[in-house]
Symmetry: C2
Subunit: 123 residues, 2 copies
DNA sequence: CTTTTATATGAATATATGTTCATATGTTAA
DNA sequence: TTAACATATGAACATATATTCATATAAAAG
């Protein structure tokens, strides 16, 4: 069990102090929130979403993506870097070209699990 | 069946023109991408996530949220407005206070469904 | 070894977004 | 009706993020 350092609100300070204190106990900590919002940020951009959708079922090289999505090569590379850092995509070199594909076979599942972990509601 | 206006790539223009054209057929359109990324943006912010988590199982008024999350009243109101516009939260007035709660009982489900719709991968 | 092609990356810029301040609106109590 | 409190909101500001340009790196071809 993890020990949380919580500052509970007292009655004088707030009329709903009890309810607030209860919610405080179930709050995800700063790190969890940060992790979760960072994950959502990855999907919260049109360009990245389009890239992800493009390689849902196949691998593509950078210039494929540029052509397909009608984007600047630099833009694609920068966004791929973000997806790489997040370990959302993997890549392999074949000659001069670098082929990108989804790192995990089940991005969908990953997200679902994160949701279940952090957003499970009490009965 | 919807008719898509696709500009297919020709052989001269790109070596992988076939693969690209195939992917082009399964791409979500601009509107779908926009909708999806907007949805992720809602969850891609620490403050909004914390607010959402706080009202997962209970309703809270604005000053409860300010106290609980140690945030400026204006900040909370602005973020609640965003969540209201997205129909993610609902509210009711009781005297001077306004109580917020989740609009839908199953945010988790909503997201999952969106995922399933847009991110389903071919076998 | 030089040139060409594919990709990556730092820096500059443009844009979007979150927070704060000041103040407006709406409700209750005096 | 006025004062006090809770919340909302426009404008200013600060910050984060995406895109572009210029250029570096890396591989292949000549």
């Amino acid at each position: 069990m993890e020990e949380k350092e919580l500052e509970f609100i007292c009655e004088e300070k707030h009329p709903h102090y009890q309810k607030i204190n209860e919610v405080k106990c179930t709050e995800p900590d700063t790190e969890q929130i940060e992790t979760l919002s960072n994950m959502f940020k990855l999907f919260a951009d049109n360009t990245r979403l389009r890239i992800i959708c493009s390689i849902l079922n196949t691998e593509l090289c950078v210039c494929d993506l540029c052509e397909l999505l009608d984007l600047n090569q630099s833009t694609v590379s920068h966004q791929l870097q973000i997806l790489r850092n997040a370990k959302l995509v993997k890549y392999r070199r074949e000659g001069k070209q670098i082929y990108y594909s989804l790192q995990d076979e089940h991005i969908e599942q990953i997200i679902r699990n994160k949701f279940s972990t952090y957003f499970r509601r009490g009965g």
